[in-house]
């Protein structure tokens, strides 16, 4: 596997919400799409570039991740979701599509419960919301765990922050989730989500069982569950074309996403 390209500090915009200084990057024009990153921190890769041809794509580094700072009062996922809502109000200024990846999917689910009015449609990429296989510790996750399609190029992957800054991500997750226990409360409330939702899993996900997707499909009012063949946990890097085709179709066509239009 090719190594991620050299660190560039891509957070070219900054704002402060609830005492948290948040860096973010945006590109493209159109309906807004906010991407909430996974435990590894924010990045910008080929899928973002494709999405930015159709949407105004905004990628914040969540408080405590990368070079964004976290106010000590933001000490739970619901609290983090409220900061994200504040960020959306400030930076986006209208209801927005949200894409949440892995840990970011969990944050996005809380956002849909806490602040549904600011959401248009919701996409969850391999959401890590519920008990995970073997309770993998974040600092033990290897690249091999994340990717299965090792022949797929890591095209244009750019990390937002230095290795040192990224090491803080693990600390942030631990504090926000109090050691990453099963999300019983989220599981108990997930059926309350009314936002139209697309849940994506790779058939070869080694971190979160792809069968987890059926929980959302079964419990949410308006949910599609998609399996991306031969993709691992980071679907957008294993199969960027398939990933963006699904996401764009869902965001642009809503329920008619089910109809093949070529």
């Amino acid at each position: 596997m090719s190594a991620p390209s050299e660190t560039t500090h891509l957070a070219d915009h900054w704002t402060t919400i609830a005492g948290c200084r948040i860096g973010y990057r945006e590109a493209g024009v159109g309906r807004p799409l906010v991407h909430l990153h996974g435990a590894g921190g924010p990045s910008w890769d080929e899928a973002h570039a494709i999405l930015a041809t159709r949407f105004r794509v905004i990628v914040p580094a969540l408080p405590g991740f990368g070079e964004s700072t976290r106010d000590p009062g933001v000490d739970s996922l619901p609290a983090l979701a409220r900061v994200v809502a504040g960020f959306i109000g400030e930076v986006v200024g209208e209801a927005t599509h949200v894409l949440g990846s892995s840990f970011g999917g969990r944050v996005a689910a809380w956002l849909a419960l806490e602040e549904p009015a600011i959401l248009d449609r919701l996409v969850l990429e391999s959401p890590a919301s519920f008990p995970q296989r073997g309770g993998t510790r974040l600092d033990q996750i290897s690249q091999a765990d994340l990717r299965t399609n090792e022949s797929a190029p890591d095209r244009g992957v750019e990390q937002f922050a230095s290795q040192e800054a990224r090491s803080r991500n693990v600390t942030a997750i631990g504090e926000l989730t109090r050691g990453n226990p099963p999300e019983e409360e989220l599981l108990a409330r997930i059926h309350e989500i009314q936002t139209p939702t697309l849940v994506l899993f790779g058939t070869e996900d080694r971190l979160v069982p792809p069968e987890t997707g059926r929980i959302y499909k079964e419990r949410l009012t308006d949910c599609s569950f998609a399996l991306v063949y031969q993709a691992g946990h980071v679907i957008r890097r294993d199969r960027p074309d398939a990933f963006t085709r699904l996401v764009i179709d869902f965001l642009e066509r809503g329920p008619a996403f089910l109809v093949n239009r070529g």
């Binding site: 058939t203 069968e211 997707g213 059926r214 499909k217 079964e218 599609s224 569950f225 998609a226 399996l227 991306v228 063949y229 031969q230 199969r239 398939a242 085709r245 699904l246 996403f257 089910l258 109809v259 093949n260």
Partner: protein, 374 residues
């Protein structure tokens, strides 16, 4: 305990010569065909009555070699004509078909038969890639994707979208779902080294037919068992099937004469038709994953063309003779290969209905009771 699978190719053995593929369908007489389907279904129903453990059939296109373009239609009839035997569809050519349709039809057969389906997932012999206009280069990856999609369609309780490389669906929810849980047993060909390892990886049953010799079969079955161990499981006896042309008569001479003539027609007429088309498909494509696999096939086909019935008896690649002889042959084949299921094909080439049913009865009554414990 060794089991027996009564397999039927449903040939159309009315032509003296076939020199091209596809075989023009003007050469097919539908009224004869109507009679043949009835005769063949009667033979399969008889197999169930006689205690054969499985009754099976397969899929071929554009040829009198086999009249089942869709074996599931025969399977549907068998759900009503049999009551006990497993129904072995060996199988649907999944790289060439809509995998959701395969999942649906197989699930119907499983529910209709009370959970008796054995689901064959087959890649298809080369000429079928012309019949269904599929790129042979994509054969293996279409096979692998269709395999995963069908299993997922059977086992995922919630509707799902599938974003594959060869198939995309936005809303899969197979009705009915299969009766056997988590899904019907799957059997794939283990005729090449690649497929033997693939079967082991998928925890599927594997089958080898048209053996060159017992050593070839033994080597691939051993590879399957070794690979299964690597993947953390142990195949059961009945996970391994070996298929053989079979004819039992009162004497060895009588049996060899009958099967010899029938095989001559089978190889010279029925089998030859697709050969040229198959070579076209293989030429310059990646139908076979490796050069070794291609060479293995060439060697195996070559071995069949020039052998006499006596050669085949000597190699133990047919079951042919008096009941006593066939008992010994079964012991030899099972001992050499470790197969738990012997697929016995009685309707070879131009063998008549009387020959087939008499041979089946001798087999069931005078062979099987002596080899169950092998």
């Amino acid at each position: 305990m060794v089991q027996f699978s009564f397999f039927h190719l449903m040939p159309y053995a009315e032509l003296d010569e076939i020199d091209r593929w596809p075989v023009p369908h003007r050469l097919f007489d539908p009224s004869i065909g109507h009679h043949l389907f009835g005769e063949y279904l009667d033979q399969m129903a008889l197999a169930d009555e006689l205690g054969f453990d499985w009754v099976g059939c397969n899929e071929h296109h554009s040829t009198p070699y086999g009249l089942m373009s869709n074996p599931n239609l025969i399977g549907g009839a068998l759900t009503q004509r049999t009551s006990r035997a497993r129904l072995a569809m060996l199988g649907n050519l999944i790289p060439l078909l809509n995998p959701i349709r395969v999942a649906e039809e197989y699930a119907m057969l499983d529910v209709m038969s009370g959970g008796r389906l054995i689901a064959g997932f087959i890649r298809g012999i080369p000429n079928e890639y012309i019949a269904y206009s599929a790129n042979p280069d994509e054969s293996w990856e279409r096979f692998a994707e269709a395999y995963d999609l069908i299993i997922r369609a059977w086992t995922e309780p919630e509707p799902f979208a599938w974003e594959g490389k060869h198939w995309q669906f936005r809303a899969v929810s197979v009705w009915p779902r299969p009766l056997q849980q988590p899904h019907p047993p799957v059997l794939i060909s283990g005729g090449s080294r690649e497929s033997a390892v693939f079967a082991a990886r998928k925890r599927a049953k594997m089958g080898i037919v048209q053996l060159a010799d017992l050593e070839d079969a033994r080597a691939n079955i051993q590879l399957y068992r070794d690979s299964a161990a690597d993947f953390g499981w142990t195949p059961a006896r009945d996970d391994v099937l070996v298929g053989l042309h079979t004819h039992v008569a009162r004497t060895d001479e009588e049996a060899q004469k009958a099967l010899g003539e029938a095989e001559d027609y089978f190889y010279r007429v029925l089998g030859a038709a697709s050969g040229h088309a198959g070579e076209l498909v293989l030429s310059g494509t990646r139908y076979y994953a490796t050069e070794e696999a291609r060479e293995f096939r060439v060697r195996r086909r070559g071995a069949h063309g020039h052998l006499t019935i006596q050669d085949r008896v000597a190699r133990n690649t047919v079951l042919c003779g008096s009941p006593d002889t066939v008992v010994r042959q079964i012991e030899t084949v099972v001992k050499a290969t470790g197969a738990g299921v012997l697929q016995v094909n009685f309707k070879i080439g131009c063998m008549t209905d009387d020959q087939v049913t008499a041979s089946m009865r001798l087999f069931a009554e005078e062979v099987v009771p002596h080899v169950r414990a092998v």
